[in-house]
C-alpha cells in the first residue's frame, strides 16, 4: 500500500447529500448511489467530482447523458481520496487534507489545508456524522505511528477538527456507520462494531465477526456491504448490532 493514504468514506454523503438533492431543483434529479471509502469519484447535486494524482476535476452532469468538464484544479501530489461533506470537499493526499468549499459547486475554492498530519494523518479513512468524525489511523506501512487507533474528532469547526478520543485497534481500513453503530474493517481482528450512541465516546460491542479480510463497508438499507480481498460479503443489519451473514459473492 505504498501510495495508500487518507481514505475518506462517502457514508456521510448519503446522509447529508440526500437532503441537499431533494431540496435542489434540477433537470437531473435522480437519486445518487452510495460509494465506499476509497472513492475518487463522488456526485453531489448536479456535479461529478473526481480526483487523480494531482488534480480535482469538476463535471457538470445537469444533462446526465452528456457530462461536461467544467473545471480543473491543481491540488498537490499523491491525491488519493475525495469525501464530500455538507458543502465541503475533503481531499486526502499523502501528506495532508485539503478542504474545498463547493458553495459554488462548479468552482471549488480552497479553504484550508489545515489538518495537520499529527491530527489526521495519511492512511486515515474518515466518516463524519453531524459534528463528529471518526477516522481509523493505521500505523503499518508508510503511515507512521505506533498504535493503530479509531480516533474521534469534534468537527463543529469543520476546518479545525479536534481529537477527543481514541480506541486501540489492529490493522484498520474502511469504516461506515448505521445509526448508532460504527463498523470498522480490521484486517487483524475482523469486522469491529462500536456503539456510537454517545458519539464522542464509542464503545466496542462484544461480538466477533471474521469471515474474510475486510477492506471497506457500505451500510446500505438493511444490508452491510463489505468489500473483502476476495469479493463481497453481505450481512443483514436489520439489527445493526448483530449482523447476520447473508452471502459471500466472489
Amino acid at each position: 500500500m505504498k501510495k495508500s493514504i487518507f481514505y475518506l468514506l462517502l457514508v456521510s454523503l448519503f446522509l447529508c447529500q440526500c437532503q441537499k438533492d431533494s431540496s435542489s431543483i434540477s433537470k437531473n434529479s435522480g437519486s445518487v448511489g452510495q460509494g465506499g471509502s476509497l472513492a475518487r469519484f463522488a456526485i453531489t447535486g448536479n456535479y461529478l467530482y473526481s480526483v487523480d494524482e494531482n488534480q480535482l476535476k469538476v463535471f457538470d452532469i445537469s444533462n446526465a447523458a452528456d457530462p461536461v468538464l467544467k473545471n480543473t484544479e491543481d491540488i498537490g501530489f499523491e491525491i488519493e481520496t475525495l469525501f464530500p461533506f455538507k458543502d465541503k470537499l475533503f481531499i486526502g493526499s499523502a501528506t495532508q487534507v485539503y478542504i474545498y468549499s463547493i458553495e459554488d459547486p462548479a468552482k471549488p475554492k480552497l479553504l484550508s489545508s489545515a489538518i495537520s498530519p499529527e491530527v489526521m494523518r495519511r492512511c486515515d479513512p474518515v466518516v463524519a456524522k453531524d459534528s463528529v468524525a471518526f477516522a481509523t489511523l493505521r500505523t503499518n506501512g508508510p503511515c507512521g505511528g505506533t498504535q493503530s487507533v479509531l480516533a474521534v474528532y469534534n468537527i463543529k469547526d469543520i476546518t479545525n477538527p479536534v481529537q477527543v478520543a481514541t480506541y486501540p485497534v489492529g490493522e484498520p481500513y474502511g469504516l461506515g456507520y448505521d445509526d448508532d453503530v460504527l463498523y470498522v474493517c480490521d484486517k487483524q481482528r475482523g469486522l469491529l462494531l462500536f456503539d456510537i450512541s454517545h458519539p464522542y465516546q464509542p464503545t466496542l460491542i462484544n461480538i466477533s465477526i471474521n469471515d474474510g479480510s475486510y477492506v471497506d463497508v457500505i451500510p446500505y438499507q438493511n444490508t452491510l456491504i463489505c468489500w473483502t480481498t476476495t469479493g463481497l460479503i453481505l450481512y443483514d443489519i436489520t439489527n445493526n448490532r448483530n449482523p447476520k451473514l447473508i452471502k459471500t459473492v466472489d
Binding site: 505504498k2 460509494g35 456526485i43 446500505y220
Partner: protein, 175 residues
C-alpha cells in the same frame, strides 16, 4: 614476491569459487509497464457474470451492488432479494477503477476517458457517451516513484497504461 603471487592466486581461486551474488538472480521488487493499444482500451462489452479476480471498489445503487474488478470492469449484482443477491453480468471496461451513479446514469473511468452508461436496466448497461482525455495517462517513460527498479519501456509494445509491482530477477532500469 613469490609469496605475494601465491597469495594473489590463492585469493583468485577462492574468489572464483565463491558464487558472486550477481550469479544467482534474486527476484526483486520491480515496476513493470503494462501495455495496451487504444483499441483494446476502448473495447467495452457486457458479458455474463463471472468470478471476481481482483476485488475492487464497491458501490450501491437502488437494488443493485456494483464491484470493480481491478483494471478490468464492473461486476453487477442484483440485490432485489436481499437474502439471495446474485451476480447478473460483468461490464468489461478496461482499466476501470472508479464508478458513481446518479439517476440511472453510471459514470466510470476508462483509462483517460470518462464514460457514461444508461443503467435503467442495471444488468445490461448501455454505452452512452465518451468524454475523451479528461484523466491523466500513465507515465510513458518510468513509474511515478523514485528510488525504484523498473523494467525499461519497450515502445514497440504499445502505450503504457499503468505500472504494476512485480518481483522479477533482472530489472534493467532504475530511477
Amino acid at each position: 614476491m613469490r609469496k605475494l603471487i601465491c597469495i594473489f592466486f590463492t585469493t583468485l581461486i577462492l574468489f572464483s569459487c565463491d558464487p558472486k551474488p550477481g550469479d544467482i538472480p534474486i527476484p526483486m521488487e520491480t515496476y513493470v509497464p503494462v501495455y495496451a493499444s487504444m483499441s483494446d482500451i476502448q473495447q467495452i462489452s457486457v458479458e455474463p457474470e463471472k468470478a471476481t479476480i481482483n476485488a475492487g471498489k464497491i458501490y450501491a445503487y437502488q437494488n443493485y451492488i456494483f464491484q470493480n474488478d481491478l483494471y478490468s470492469g464492473i461486476h453487477i449484482i442484483d440485490n432485489s432479494d436481499q437474502h439471495n443477491p446474485v451476480k447478473v453480468a460483468f461490464l468489461s471496461l478496461p482499466l476501470n477503477t472508479e464508478m458513481s451513479i446518479k439517476g440511472n446514469y453510471l459514470y466510470a473511468n476508462n483509462y483517460t476517458d470518462l464514460v457514461v452508461f444508461d443503467v435503467t436496466n442495471p444488468a445490461n448497461p448501455q454505452f452512452i457517451k465518451r468524454v475523451a482525455g479528461v484523466f491523466p495517462p500513465a507515465n510513458q517513460e518510468y513509474p511515478p516513484y523514485t528510488n525504484v527498479y523498473f523494467k525499461c519501456v519497450d515502445k514497440s509494445k504499445g502505450i503504457v497504461v499503468r505500472w504494476e509491482k512485480q518481483n522479477i530477477p533482472t530489472p534493467n532500469c532504475r530511477r
